[in-house]
């Protein structure tokens, strides 16, 4: 029978999961993002899902559809309720496992089973009530529906409940005198605390201190409690016999498909929770249109997802950008003032593609993106001071490795390469490298201070970080399509230091 997965359209895909953090993750700040996303869901081991982008449009759409179904808040709430119950099931089973006394162990096992049955029944019910459009959820629903209507499940469910009500009905007295303990059946002896309370109530005036001691319920069972429980079992042999039989029969009851679903669905929840957090100040996410052939792309009102989270925490707003590549355009060459959002733009470009290929909605109101095979980044490292020749060589070695590995389906991000080199050398080397990328036909972003790179060919698109025309010290973080203009940058820097010709005249009074 085909194993239904809510994450993988094709069972084979689930076997190529990548356990390691991709090398470019920290350059793109995706390492932080995945950490934030998975932080509260450690037990589901979701990182590897986030480390494995899909290579196939259908597989991506499969997930997008599940995301769409899960936009239904009611359904989402119901499934989350199920997940909450499954956490309890696992906790109880863990307790049962580590307990030493049989009656105690079997008792916790029964608790786990009760919650499990409840959880599964609830899940199927809520899936049946929801309007499902995704292949992923529909498949799971069918499978689970069959499961709960099987005789096996029905008998198990009934047996669990019967046993629980039988045990709950047991009431007994523990008589303690010194270190002598006796257990008896409860014989409707009066509640003495109540009696005392009632008797002395006439003195009651206003509020007084609460003398109840907050007794910590110990997590385990000590040998005295165990002995008492054994005596209780002796007083009620039939019920405890049932408990024993039940345990033998249902020792392992968890269905693999159920537990698998419980884990995989968390991928969606984790990402949705993160989106919801970021969306609050009015930012948008959209389902990107994807192609593994067509390299014309466009995105509207997009933003850096990591920065969005940081800005949210600090209550800052974030600037949104648009970009597009049309016809033969492949590479953005970004120039302009420092701190103007150039690097952010480069990161964002790669982030968008990466998230899209995970099957996730991406930042923006509208997006058409490319299904890449690999992402390569070359970011200026904050290296120890070495001799320049050594560093330059390192740079070139790394770039060479990238060129070796990259294909026409790859995405290459170059951020301020060759900054420590003489301008002429930098121009020369940069041109060489960029021409190679152009030749390759890969998509990319090149952040540089070298205006000339932006006009290398019809494949390059010049993007410029801009400053507010009236107040150049205020950066807009807008990156717009326009010819590179190094002068704007110089004026901006001058104004920042109050060193424009006018300001100098004003300050240096004759």
């Amino acid at each position: 029978m085909k194993k239904n997965s809510v994450l993988f359209k094709d069972e084979l895909d689930s076997q190529t999961i990548n356990g390691n953090t991709p090398v470019f993750f920290s350059d793109l700040n995706l390492d932080q993002v995945v950490e934030w996303i998975t932080k509260n869901k450690q037990e589901y081991r979701l990182s590897s899902f986030y480390f494995t982008p899909l290579q196939d449009v259908d597989a991506i759409v499969y997930r997008q559809d599940v995301f769409r179904d899960l936009e239904d808040k009611t359904l989402r709430g119901h499934i989350q309720e199920f997940s909450g119950q499954m956490i309890v099931v696992r906790r109880f089973l863990g307790v049962a496992e580590e307990r030493y006394y049989e009656n105690n162990k079997m008792g916790w096992h029964l608790e786990a089973a009760l919650v499990y049955c409840d959880a599964v029944r609830g899940l199927v019910k809520s899936l049946s009530q929801a309007e499902l459009n995704s292949e992923g959820l529909k498949g799971c629903f069918k499978q689970f529906d069959r499961y709960i209507h099987s005789d096996e499940f029905k008998q198990f469910d009934q047996a669990s409940r019967d046993l629980k009500s039988e045990l709950s009905a047991i009431e007994y007295n523990v008589v303690i005198r010194g270190s002598w303990v006796r257990v008896r059946k409860y014989n409707s002896e009066k509640d003495y605390s109540r009696e005392v309370e009632k008797y002395f109530s006439k003195f009651k005036e206003g509020e007084v201190k609460d003398f109840r001691v907050d007794l910590v319920v110990p997590s385990g069972m000590n040998h005295v409690e165990a002995k008492i429980l054994d005596l209780v079992a002796k007083l009620f042999p039939e019920s405890f016999g049932h408990l024993n039989d039940y345990y033998q029969q249902y020792e392992t009851f968890m269905d693999e498909a159920i537990s698998n679903f419980d884990r995989e669905i968390q991928f969606y929840f984790s990402y949705q929770a993160f989106m919801d957090r970021i969306k609050e100040p009015g930012l948008m996410f959209c389902y990107p249109q994807l192609s593994s052939e067509d390299k014309t792309i466009h995105v509207c009102e997009t933003f850096d997802i990591a920065m969005a989270e940081i800005h949210r925490r600090e209550n800052l707003s974030i600037v949104r950008n648009d970009f597009h590549l049309e016809g033969g355009e492949r590479i953005f060459v970004v120039t302009g003032p420092n701190q103007g959002g150039k690097t952010t733009f480069a990161r964002m470009f790669a982030q968008l593609h990466y998230l899209a290929c995970l099957g996730c909605p991406v930042p923006g109101s509208e997006a058409k993106l490319f299904v890449f095979d690999q992402i390569f980044t070359h970011f200026e490292r904050e290296e120890k001071i070495q001799n320049l020749r050594g560093k330059l060589k390192d740079d070139l070695v790394r770039i060479h490795e990238i060129m070796e590995g990259a294909t026409h389906k790859s995405i290459i991000i170059m951020n301020e390469i060759f900054t420590s080199t003489a301008l002429e050398d930098a121009i020369f080397l940069s041109e060489k490298v960029l021409r190679k990328i152009i030749e390759l036909g890969a998509l990319g972003v090149c952040v540089t201070f070298i205006d000339e790179l932006s006009t290398l060919g019809e494949q390059t698109v010049s993007m410029v970080s801009t400053v507010d025309a009236n107040n150049p010290a205020e950066r807009t973080f807008k990156i717009i399509r326009k010819p590179a203009d190094g002068r704007a940058y110089a004026i901006h820097i001058a104004r920042l230091h109050r060193l424009t010709p006018d300001l100098i005249k004003e300050r240096v009074v004759k």
Binding site: F92, V95, A96, R99, N103, N104, M106, G107, E111, L167, I170, E171, Y172, N173, V174, V175, I176, R177, S179, W180, V181, V183, Y186, N187, E189, K190, D191, Y192, S193, E195, V196, E197, Y199, F200, S201, K202, F203, K204, E205, V208, K209, D210, F211, R212, V213, L215, P218, M221, N222, H223, V224, E225, K227, I228, L229, L231, V232, K234, L235, L243
Partner: protein
């Protein structure tokens, strides 16, 4: 259970905030002397009496309620003191025997609560006995209500049952705890049970003595098994938590009943102490006659300044005034003529009356007032003249901020920090305005201008009083009605002091 001896149906709040101006009152009226006599070394009486005196009642019925109780106390001083003693013992025993509920486990809470309750039970029984034996000697509504409450609440049957419970709660026959099987078959819903009769006294029960051995439904935790014994006491604690709380709270409640009783009686015991002292000083006391605030009554005969009597430990001169219908009393005349004493006697009598006390006079009737305020000249740095007037006016303004019609203000040499004309004019304007607002004022002054200006106006709501001075210059320390005189006879005083030096 409430004593309700200070108010017919509410507790006396010993912690209530005193009026902002209370420090002035205490100082200006020498209240400390009065309170110390009342307290007779009992700090608690001092504090309660202070609060009672400074928080005046303005409701005539409420005052009469206390007046009647006080009459009962004067008739039955021994009984009243023995009730107060019981309330005192509750506190002293607790302190002396280190009683209190400090434990952090229910068994400990329970056993200290039982100890405390046993001690209280004894005192409650004593209280009950007094009520049974002596209630008939009391006539006031307050004491009748109190004794009836004691008899109703502490019936013999109730006290017997209390003994029974306290006995049961020491669990000589073992603790019975019911439980149910909770999650994982672990015990929960622990509940203390009262065993059926046949099991209760099983110490004496031979059959049960025999059964205290390991049977098929019982076991013994080895005394050396520390963990096991700890587990057992934890289990017991679960069963005892609720009852320990109930009993500890009850103990707290009874404790506060005794505190309440002590509070409600302290003032009266203080009055008794004062009364007995005044008897030895031949100082008359009277139950004042009350009028409503708007009635403008102020009439008395032989009014003594009680603190002066107490300080001098002897008889003092009393004053007579017929001030009905008057709002302003201007007292001028001879220095050392008893003006300030008179002023204090007015304030003291008013405060005592409005706390429900007797007044040191042969007869006293006045309207209730909305608070007594004092504006006395302060002995501050004499060189800072303008600063002093400023200070006086700001104090005045403070009074005006809080004062209401039908209050009383006692002025002692106010606004004299500047020259007489100016001071008089300031005072005149203030007094006239306040008078129109139905404030009753007693104004001691040596400012002739001021006294004279009221004399000229012939206001029938003003009474001018003079410190009496005989022809030969001796003072009677009595005040008499009369026009102001231009001199305050400082010369007399001068002579009195200096002439005695001469041979």
């Amino acid at each position: 259970m409430k004593s309700y001896l200070m108010f017919k149906n509410q507790d006396f709040d010993s912690n209530q905030a005193l009026p902002d101006h209370y420090e002035d009152l205490v100082k200006d009226l020498s209240l400390d002397v009065l309170l110390k006599t009342m307290a007779a070394e009992d700090e608690f009486i001092y504090e309660i009496s202070k609060t009672a005196l400074l928080i005046s009642l303005v409701d005539a019925d409420a005052i009469r309620f206390r007046q009647e109780i006080l009459q009962d106390c004067i008739k039955n001083p021994k009984i009243v003191r023995s009730i107060y003693r019981i309330a005192q013992l509750a506190k002293e025993n607790k302190k002396r025997r280190w009683m209190g509920i400090f434990s952090r486990n229910p068994s400990g809470v329970l056993s200290s609560a039982v100890q405390l309750m046993l001690m209280f039970a004894e005192l409650l029984e004593k209280l009950k006995t007094i009520a049974d034996d002596s209630a008939h000697a009391f006539e006031s509504e307050g004491f009748n209500q109190f004794f009836t409450m004691i008899k109703d609440e502490l019936s013999d049957a109730y006290l017997a049952a209390m003994d029974d419970h306290l006995n049961q709660l020491s669990f000589k026959s073992g603790v019975w705890i019911s439980a149910k099987l909770g999650k994982g078959n672990q015990g929960e819903a622990y509940n203390l049970r009262r065993p059926k009769k046949k099991y209760r006294n099983f110490i004496k029960n031979v059959f049960y003595k025999l059964s205290v051995k390991v049977t098929s439904s019982s076991f013994m935790v080895d005394p050396r098994d520390q963990a096991g014994n700890r587990a057992l006491s934890e289990l017991k604690d679960r069963g005892l938590n609720q009852v320990a709380n109930a009993l500890a709270q009850s103990a707290e409640h009874i404790d506060s009943f005794f505190v309440n009783l002590r509070t409600e009686l302290a003032f009266y015991v203080g009055c008794l102490n004062l009364y007995e002292r005044l008897q030895t000083l031949n100082c008359p006391v009277t139950v004042p006659k009350l009028y409503e605030p708007h009635e403008k009554k102020h009439q008395f005969r032989g009014l003594r300044e009680i603190c002066l009597a107490l300080t001098m430990d002897g008889e003092v001169v009393g004053n007579d005034v017929d001030g009905d219908g008057r709002g302003l009393f201007i007292i001028s005349g001879a220095n050392q003529g008893g003006k300030s004493t008179f002023l204090r006697s007015i304030g003291l009598a008013q405060l005592m009356m409005q706390s429900g006390m007797f007044v040191a006079a042969e007869a006293f009737s006045t309207n209730l007032c909305e608070g007594v305020y004092t504006h006395f000249k302060r002995q501050e740095d004499e060189t800072m003249k303008s600063g002093k007037l400023d200070e006086e006016l700001s104090r005045m303004s403070g009074i005006v901020d809080v004062i209401a019609p039908h209050a009383i203000i006692l002025f002692n040499e106010s606004f004299s920090a500047t020259n007489e004309r100016e001071g008089s004019e300031i005072a005149r304007q203030i007094l006239t305005a306040l008078l129109d607002q139905d404030i009753k004022m007693f104004f001691v002054t040596h400012m002739y201008e001021l006294a004279n200006s009221f004399n000229h106006h012939h206001r029938d709501d003003t009474l001018l009083l003079q410190a009496e001075r005989k022809e030969d210059g001796t003072r009677t320390f009595k005040l008499v009605e009369g026009k102001p005189l231009r001199t305050s006879f400082a010369e007399d005083v001068f002579h009195e002091v200096f002439d005695n030096d001469q041979p």
